[in-house]
């Protein structure tokens, strides 16, 4: 059977919701077990006390990347069927910065706030409420910002296409970035992370 399973018709819309539910619960469970349901631990990375989040996320990225790459190369997966979010560089940069500020101030990103809220943390619930209010406001003002929202479109582009380098070399470069990032993170935790900011 070829992946992606849904697009090859292994299961339909109904079953895909069940699959999404199982994956979602699994994702939340492991986030919680990794300590990502705690706003302090998440915010600590911005003070270089604890870069677990950075390390976990980068590990996830290279694991997925290497897995997808090799599955596609040996023909078990059709990469052209994997959806790519289209790039709108300026609005997405602004959006990324907004999310980053929210992350530093609130101590959560959207996924971890759900984890935190269901484990009974009040700050997580407030954060989740903030997300809902934000979605509502975004929806209401969308007509005003829709021109900006769709400005600077670059299409469904990958780094490999943008820089015109082979995918294999890009995979290697990202792996090296990750390994370098992990080493730098360990160093930063030791050198810069001893300023105690926790109350």
């Amino acid at each position: 059977m070829n992946a992606p399973f849904f697009k090859y018709g292994l299961f339909g819309d109904d079953v895909s919701l069940v699959v999404a539910f199982v994956i979602g619960i699994g994702f939340g469970f492991f986030l919680e077990r990794g300590g990502f349901g705690n706003g302090r631990k998440l915010a600590a990375q911005f003070y270089f006390n604890d870069l677990t989040v950075f390390k976990v996320m980068f590990t996830a990225i290279i694991t997925a990347m290497v897995g997808i790459y090799y599955l596609s190369v040996i023909g078990w997966m059709d990469l052209s069927l994997v959806y790519l979010n289209p790039t709108y560089i300026v609005p997405q940069t602004v959006g990324g910065l907004l999310l980053g500020f929210g992350f530093v101030i609130g101590g959560y990103c959207p996924g971890t706030s759900c984890v935190s809220a269901v484990t009974g943390k009040i700050d997580g619930m407030v954060y989740l409420l903030g997300i809902v209010v934000g979605i509502f406001i975004f929806g209401e003002i969308f007509p005003l910002i829709s021109t900006f929202y769709t400005s600077t479109p670059m299409g469904q582009i990958t780094l490999s296409q943008l820089f015109n380098i082979p995918y294999g070399i890009l995979v290697f470069a990202v792996v090296m970035m990750a390994i370098g990032g992990f080493a730098a993170a360990e160093w930063a935790e030791k050198k810069l992370g001893n300023k105690i900011v926790e109350p």
Partner: protein, 217 residues
């Protein structure tokens, strides 16, 4: 190497594995399949032989009238011809753009062109690319025009033929056509005029539906 590896910490082992996989990737090639495919000639020949590769214009007309939404109707002709007339609910996919057009492997696809040649060729391409339920419209738009839009009843028709024609008349009118009995055109318009695009009364047939499913996080 054998002696060093077990002594490394777990993190270093994982980093080493990632490094090796990354290094191999440089030489492993492109993950995208591009437009080259492999096909199972025997399997395709069997399908063609069993005639499981096409649907008739009557069947298609029935599906559209029942407002079935479990299939995608693809018009492979040029844009100009598409704009003049197309079967309601059809989407314009010129043959050259077939490889890039967003289609799902699990969708039922019905192809049609002017006659049957282009749709047969596109059928072969899609089957080879791994689309499982692809069908062509028998006889293409030509047969659709003859059978659905302008059905004829011969003067010396048998009662069965007449009964079938009576049924067909309703179908034809649904699609804005004009049935012809005994060589005489029943409707006011004596000339075979291809119906206007907004004709299908009753169906909400959005042309070239651009409702791409939003995906991603």
């Amino acid at each position: 190497m054998k002696n060093i590896f077990p002594k490394l910490s777990m993190n270093k082992k994982l980093a080493l594995i990632a490094f090796v996989l990354g290094l191999t990737a440089i030489f492993a090639g492109n993950p995208y399949r591009g437009s080259s495919v492999t096909m199972d000639v025997k399997e395709l020949a069997l399908i063609i032989d069993k005639q499981a590769d096409h649907i008739s214009s009557e069947e298609l007309a029935g599906w559209i009238i029942q407002e079935k939404s479990d299939f995608k109707l693809l018009d492979l002709r040029a844009e100009k011809e598409f704009n003049e007339y197309h079967i309601p609910s059809a989407e314009l996919v010129p043959l050259a753009e077939l490889n890039e057009y967003p289609l799902l492997r699990n969708e039922k696809l019905v192809l049609y062109s002017e006659g049957g040649i282009h749709s047969a060729q596109a059928w072969m391409l899609l089957r080879a690319k791994g689309y499982k339920s692809v069908y062509m419209l028998m006889g293409g738009l030509d047969e659709w025009t003859d059978k659905i839009l302008f059905p004829k009843l011969a003067q010396n028709a048998t009662p069965e033929q007449t009964a079938a024609f009576e049924k067909m008349k309703e179908v034809s009118k649904f699609f804005g056509g004009s049935p012809q009995a005994g060589g005489v055109v029943e409707e006011v318009s004596a000339k075979k005029s291809i119906p206007k695009l907004e004709m299908p009364s009753g169906t909400s047939a959005p042309t070239a539906g651009k409702k791409k499913k939003k995906e991603g996080c």
